[in-house]
């Protein structure tokens, strides 16, 4: 028994090493004086200084965050409405059709989504840049939010709605005072998923950006192509740390909600 467990831990350890080693390798050389990733000659923060003095880069970071926040807020709103629509669809065939349409968007490759958005935007004459990137991000985030919210709705007993109606609630009150509070954990999960999807999207953004507008992933890609500068490493390190912070915040959020209101999933798990 003990032996089995040690083997399992060793395996797990190896997997994590393989996954994280390149990242730590990259982080390590972001402190390298030599400016290469071959041999370490001494510690420096020069590359970080370079990142922070790079005005263009700072603008891109801010743009990336703005696109991520805006697109995840809007897609969360749309996704919740969508999930409610799917939930309240009575006809089985219609419900399945809606769900399939949603899932197809989830599984289709980014390249195809990106290319088709490029075609769409050029067709209807939307200038490539901030707006096109924002629209594309909203579009690929909505299905994610729907998928995170829908299970919460299905978990909700339909008698909650009956009970609220019975106690005098109009449809609006039922939605605001019963349904939305119940699915709040799903809404948060959807929001954070949309946020991370938007932050690290490369393929779709690569297709639909233009006119001098860029996001971090696209920028890092183009810089890395021009020749490796350790400022890219420094930037990647910063992004990694920020992502880690978001994951931790999300973790505390979902745990906190689960604990404070230990209903449905909370208790049973």
């Amino acid at each position: 028994m003990v032996k089995k467990r040690t083997w399992a831990s060793i395996y797990l350890f190896c997997v994590f090493v393989v996954l994280y080693l390149p990242i730590f390798y990259l982080m390590f050389y972001s402190f390298n004086k030599a400016g290469t990733m071959t041999h370490f000659t001494g510690f420096t923060l020069d590359w970080y200084k370079e990142v922070f003095s790079d005005k263009r880069l700072i603008v891109i970071v801010i743009d990336t965050v703005i696109v991520a926040l805006l697109s995840s807020v809007i897609s969360t709103a749309l996704g919740v409405v969508g999930a409610l629509a799917v939930y309240s669809t009575k006809r089985r065939s219609a419900k399945n059709a809606l769900l399939s349409l949603n899932n197809i968007l989830m599984v289709s490759p980014d390249v195809i989504i990106g290319a088709s958005f490029l075609i769409l935007f050029t067709l209807i004459g939307i200038k490539l840049g901030f707006v096109s990137v924002l629209l594309a991000h909203i579009a690929f985030s909505v299905p994610i939010v729907v998928l995170m919210v829908l299970p919460k709705l299905q978990e909700m007993s339909p008698t909650f709605i009956d009970a609220a109606r019975d106690l005098g609630a109009r449809r609006r009150d039922v939605l605001l005072k019963v349904v939305l509070p119940f699915i709040t954990p799903g809404i948060f999960a959807g929001f954070f998923m949309a946020l991370t999807y938007s932050l690290d999207d490369f393929a779709v953004t690569f297709f639909v950006t233009g006119n001098g507008f860029s996001t971090l992933s696209v920028e890092i890609y183009s810089r890395a192509r021009q020749g490796i500068s350790m400022s890219v490493n420094a930037l990647s390190t910063l992004i990694f740390l920020i992502t880690l912070a978001i994951v931790l915040v999300y973790y505390f959020f979902s745990n906190g909600i689960g604990k404070a209101k230990s209903y449905s999933g909370g208790r049973r798990v």
């Binding site: 007993s157 008698t159 009956d162 009970a163 609220a164 019975d166 106690l167 609630a169 209101k261 209903y263």
Partner: protein, 366 residues
């Protein structure tokens, strides 16, 4: 009289996807009484409650409250509250907020809400539970919160859908008593749904016995128990011996190859009938005494009484409840009073049945 008649079902039919669930149901609910809808699972009890609450609309017929047609009035506009079978308490709200839900929806001032919630919780013996979370409550406590959440709105009618079925036997019996007390104190109408006949007999002013979407019989627990209209009701309400018989003349019935005096009349000469005698109305006698001779086939000790099964000379089985025990294969005598015999006519409607009973119950008093 019109004042007292609160809810009226007039030839109500309910169909789901073309399948008839309730057939041409008519009944009246008066103010301030405890009603029970009793019937086996799937007979349409919940459907009737949902029609009253407004979650469903009748397919045909009319539903009126105080003479007003309410077929299309939504549930939030009805002076009716429901205690749901699964309680349906809101998990994101604590006990206080659950009970206050209806008051907040109706925009009562918070000054008034707190005392009303307290009062409601007091009514269901949950003083001091305001700040508990729903997930921390036991089944019985959830039950009480659900009742408090409904009565805090001071409804005219409280609907309870099998509220006790999830509780264990002891708690269930205690809650039966409490619910009956609560109904008396509040003075409002309770419509209670159950498939448990003992529960129905113990609690109700009036029982509606339902079967396959139809009301088989309605009346006080006593009258339904003593005078079931047909085999279904007799079987469903308690144990009974149902024996085929004939009515040679008024107040005389023959079955098991013998004739007996009874109190029923108004039958055609020699009409075939079904005879009902409750097991507890049969008295054990020595062999050769009593009105009927049976051979004991089996005996079970039931705690309060013995349940004895015997067979008479004509081959009918008799179930006897007695505090005395018998010996298997012994011949024993059975005695019963003429009043213990109840005669059921084949396929009689409830109206005819009531009219017939009234005719000779009136005559009895002369």
């Amino acid at each position: 009289m019109a004042e007292k008649m609160m809810i009226q079902f007039d030839h109500v039919t309910k169909k789901f996807d073309g399948e008839t669930i309730l057939r041409d149901i008519s009944f009246d609910i008066e103010r301030g009484k405890f009603y029970t809808l009793l019937g086996p699972s799937g007979c349409g009890k919940t459907t009737i409650l949902r029609l009253i609450a407004g979650f469903l609309e009748p397919t045909e017929g009319t539903l009126t409250f105080d003479g007003q047609l309410v077929n299309k009035i939504p549930p939030n506009k009805r002076q009716v509250n429901t205690v749901f079978q699964d309680y349906a308490l809101f998990p994101h709200l604590n006990v206080f907020e659950n009970v206050a839900f209806g008051l907040r929806i109706n925009k009562l001032a918070s000054k008034e809400i707190a005392p009303r919630v307290k009062e409601a919780l007091h009514f269901v013996n949950l003083d001091g539970y305001q700040n508990r979370e729903i997930s921390d409550l036991s089944g019985g406590q959830k039950q009480r919160v659900a009742i408090a959440r409904a009565i805090v709105n001071r409804p005219q009618v409280l609907l309870l859908d099998e509220p006790l079925s999830a509780l264990d036997l002891k708690l269930r019996t205690a809650m039966q008593f409490e619910l009956r007390q609560l109904q008396r104190r509040l003075g409002i109408t309770f419509i209670f749904v159950t498939h448990d006949q003992e529960e129905a007999l113990a609690m109700s002013d009036e029982i509606f016995v339902l079967n396959q979407g139809k009301i088989e019989q309605s009346g006080s627990p006593r009258s339904i128990y003593d005078e079931p209209i047909n085999r279904f009701v007799a079987d469903f309400i308690g144990e009974s011996n149902i024996i085929p018989g004939k009515m040679p003349q008024d107040r005389v019935v023959s079955f098991a190859g013998k004739t007996f005096n009874c109190v029923d009349q108004g039958f055609n000469k020699n009409e075939s009938v079904e005879v009902v005698i409750r097991p507890e109305d049969l008295e054990l006698k020595q062999r050769g005494e009593g009105l009927l001779q049976v051979r004991v086939e089996s005996q079970l000790f039931r705690g309060v009484h013995y349940e004895i099964i015997g067979k008479d000379e004509a081959g009918n089985s008799w179930m006897i409840h007695s505090t005395k025990s018998a010996k298997i294969n012994d011949e024993i005598g059975l005695y019963f009073e003429p009043e213990a015999i109840h005669i059921m006519r084949h396929g009689e409607s409830e109206e005819d049945f009531d009219r017939r009973l009234e005719s000779y119950e009136g005559a009895d008093h002369d």
